[in-house]
Subunit: 123 residues, 2 copies
DNA sequence: CGGGATCCGCATCGATACTG
DNA sequence: CAGTATCGATGCGGATCCCG
């Protein structure tokens, strides 16, 4: 990846897309958007997620300033995550995509079936 | 990944995000949005991409009905790719995200620096 | 409860070579 | 020119164990 590429990976959109493309990030943002949540609560709501990915994704989101972490020094530590104003604006920017997905998914899937059908006689 | 997860991976948004998160898909869509292009022209415009990934990404986009492939039977085969109306609508749905990226990237990066700075004394 | 550290399989991606 | 096929490295992501 030498420098000078017209459309290379360090454009802002690519950078953000990498975050948004993260398997769990948008899901987490979508949950926290509704209400703050604790670590294991998040874990239970998404339970296909491993604690490693949850922890890692939350850390990235926090690093990006999209999510805030509150640690309360109770007897067993209590940690609550909430979305930040910045995170809120991102969540809103993703909405059109969410909407597109819901309205056009069937078109995409129909196209996929057509494509797969026209390919299978090439056996 | 057992079934029954409240927010699991087969929601429409996740499905689309997987496509959009593809490293090159949005880039390609962005190029084809302006004008149809040939295989090697695309390759030259993005040249960090390998021909394998270009071919693969184009095939996926075509399968999803977002891009159309025209093969012209000239002496050396000529193939031109163009965006479809459906692909156009997706490209437009991505625009808010692109805009968010451009306006907030500096905030994100500032947050990252703050975060990294506050962490480094934990050595 | 809220994680960090480690091990490891599996999919992804790049490089190379070959084809029509 | 426009790809396909194969190989090998890399790294994401899951499982498990452990700690404050």
């Amino acid at each position: 990846m030498k420098p000078g590429n017209p459309y290379n990976a360090q454009c802002p959109t690519r950078l953000i897309l990498d975050r948004v493309g993260d398997k769990w990030a948008v899901l987490l943002l979508g949950l926290l958007r509704k209400e703050p949540m604790r670590f294991n609560a998040l874990r239970r709501h998404i339970d296909g997620i491993s604690q490693k990915m949850l922890s890692q994704t939350l850390k990235n989101l926090e690093r990006d300033g999209l999510v805030k972490r509150h640690a309360i020094a109770t007897v067993p530590v209590t940690v609550e995550y909430s979305i930040t104003p910045l995170g809120m604006t991102l969540a809103k920017a993703v909405d059109p995509l969410r909407h597109w997905a819901e309205t056009h998914l069937k078109d995409v899937q129909a196209s996929q079936r057509r494509y797969d059908g026209s390919q299978k006689d090439a056996a």
